[in-house]
Structures are given as structure tokens and as C-alpha cells.
Point group: C2
Chain length 207, copies 2
């Protein structure tokens, strides 16, 4: 049996020698933990090695820099591509979209990602921009576009409603409320976003 | 004449002895500079004292902690209460609101404030929440409410459009675009926010 203990704690338990993918997964999981616990600035390769109960050399052999390790850890923690919700009504689809974004933001990967977005300096931030735009934001934009397309087909959404800025409204409000308004976003906020902002913004009006 | 020089720099220039409000303003200005240059985490009372060409004791005498100094520096850098724009049309008022928010975000105080919002840890963040909500966000909310009220009076805005979430749409989109979409928000983005999001969201529809 293999048991793993926390490296830094006093009660170290023996760890069987891990190789290849098993060790890699342990390092990536430890990297995600580090990010959520100490943020980008507190993140060190040493800390990850200790938490993964391996040597620094094992980490550096696979990831020559903190940036590369963090990118791979975030990538490994992202959910796979989501199917757009299709509940037969715009309101239900939008609520489902809000809740899935909220779930992502509350997930371990979401917390780690925010640590990177908010804390890393501009030089490092540039290295993450491509990842964030392509692998984090783009999937969400695809979902909201699909929801709007289905809403247009059902006659619920104005055909001229589509715009890059409109696609950003839900994630922008969720991020703003999470960051600025003293903390957690509730499911009631999601309902308010849908009923007070998205539905009036998108809906078709009888002339 | 007493002179104190820049601690670290080689080219020290004499500085007249400053007291009271003059010295306080110099310390607050230096604190704002420090925040924009090195962020919340790099900010030290020593760094501020050096930049203000005074002693650490002079800083600590007035501000016993980093948090208190930063709060006063931000407060001193905020613009006074703004008059709500009143150009006679909803579109013009909203564009004016967007541009004034953008100007604030690009100002020295705005950059310093973002450093605090994004970088400070949760313990410190709590101490800033009241300040941010009361002195930074509330004035913006008052402006957008006034704009909507005038729009309702002119028959341009749905009387049932008002909601806390609607008030957050413009600042949320500006912050989201600034933080996540690879940098600067342009004046064209402001036009897109107004024309594609706020006007469709607020406008009255003939039944």
C-alpha cells in the first residue's frame, strides 16, 4: 500500500517511489494546492516539491519555470469542454450558465486561477493572457453564444443582440461581485443577473 | 535649514524642514507613488519615508500601520464628489459616465486602488471593503442612479429598470476588460458598452 503524508508536517509517512504520470499528477495537484493556499507570489518550486513529497530536481526536470508549472497545473484542473445548456427556455439556459460559471469560480482551479490573475505581475501576466483567453474565457463565450443562438431560433432573443461585450456581461458581473462587494456571490445574485440584466437586454419586443 | 536626502539615491538634495500638513501631504503622495510602483505587497513604511525624504518615525507617528496610511493616501487621491452628467440624452449621459469611470481607473489613485484590491490578502482586504464600498463604489452608483432617474423622467428609460445589479454593469465590464482581456480598455469599448449593452438594457419599448 502506498500512503502519502504532508512533507512539511512532522508526521512524515513513507511514500513509495512514483514515476512518470503518477508523479506528474502528484506534482500538478500539489501545485494547484500551493496556488490556492499561498497565491502566486508565495508559490515556490520548493514548496511544490515538498508538498508532493519529491525532490526539487524532479519538478525542475519537467517544468523549467514556475510559470510553466502553474500553466500545466491550471490546465490539468480545468473541466473538459461543457455542452451548452438546452432546457428549452432562455431563462433556464441563462441560469444554468450562471451556475456553471459560479461553480467554476468556486472550484479549486477557479480559486487558483484568480490567485494568478490578481496577483501576478505584468510581466508574468502576459504569459498567462493567451492561456486565459483561449482556454478559460473562450469556452464560456462559446456557451453564451450557443444559448443566444438557440434563443434567437426560438424567437426569444433579438437577432441583433449578439456582441462581444454582451457575451462578457455575466462573467464580468460575477467577477465584479466576487472581488469587490465583500465576497461571495449567491445564487440569488445569479437570479438577479438573469432577470434584471440578461433577459431585458436580450429579449425581443413586440413592435 | 535642516536637510534630509533620499536614503538610497546618490544625488541627495536638500529639503527644507516640513511640518504639519505639508509633511503629511508629502507622505501621502509618496505612499500613493509606492502603491502604483511596487503594489500592496511591496509597500513598506520605510519605502514611503525614504521617498518622502523623512524619517520612519514621522510616518509611524501619524499612521501606526500600513493599512491606515494606504487608506488615507487613497482617500486623499480620490476626486471630490462628481456632478451627475446631464446632457439631455441617455446615450450622452452614459458615455460621459463611462469616460469618467475610465479616467478614474487610469488615474494614479485608480492604479493604486487596483493594486490594493487585487493584491492584498483577505485579512487586509476586509479592512478595505468598507472604504471601497462607501467611498469608491457608492459615488459611482449614485451617478448611474441619477442618470437613470433623468432618463425615466425624459421617457427614455423603463421605470422598472432600476436594480443594484444594473448599476454594476458598467463598472463590472470596465474592470473585467481591464483585468482579463489583455489590458487597456479603449474609448471604442465604452461606446460598445453603451450602445450594445446599456441602451438595449434600459430603453423603453413601445408596446
Amino acid at each position: 500500500m502506498v500512503s502519502s503524508g504532508r512533507g512539511a508536517a512532522g508526521t512524515q509517512q513513507p511514500v513509495a517511489r512514483r514515476r512518470g504520470p503518477v508523479l506528474e499528477r502528484a506534482i500538478l495537484a500539489a501545485a494547484l494546492d500551493q496556488l490556492t493556499e499561498v497565491g502566486w507570489k508565495g508559490f515556490t518550486m520548493e514548496g511544490v516539491a515538498t508538498a508532493a513529497q519529491t525532490g526539487k530536481a524532479s519538478v525542475y526536470r519537467r517544468w523549467p519555470s514556475k510559470e510553466e508549472l502553474v500553466l500545466d497545473a491550471l490546465r490539468a484542473g480545468l473541466p473538459g469542454p461543457a455542452e451548452p445548456p438546452d432546457h428549452g427556455s432562455l431563462r433556464a439556459d441563462l441560469l444554468s450558465f450562471c451556475h456553471s460559471l459560479l461553480d467554476s469560480m468556486r472550484s479549486r482551479t477557479g480559486v487558483a486561477l484568480r490567485a494568478v490573475i490578481h496577483e501576478c505581475d505584468h510581466r508574468a501576466a502576459e504569459r498567462f493572457t493567451e492561456f486565459i483567453e483561449g482556454e478559460v474565457l473562450a469556452p464560456g463565450k462559446r456557451l453564451i453564444r450557443e444559448i443566444m443562438k438557440n434563443g434567437i431560433a426560438r424567437g426569444e432573443v433579438r437577432p441583433d443582440a449578439e456582441s462581444g461585450m454582451v457575451e462578457d456581461v455575466v462573467p464580468a458581473l460575477l467577477m465584479y461581485r466576487t472581488k469587490l462587494c465583500g465576497g461571495q456571490v449567491t445564487d440569488r445574485d445569479a437570479v438577479e443577473i438573469v432577470d434584471r440584466v440578461m433577459l431585458p437586454l436580450l429579449r425581443v419586443h413586440s413592435a
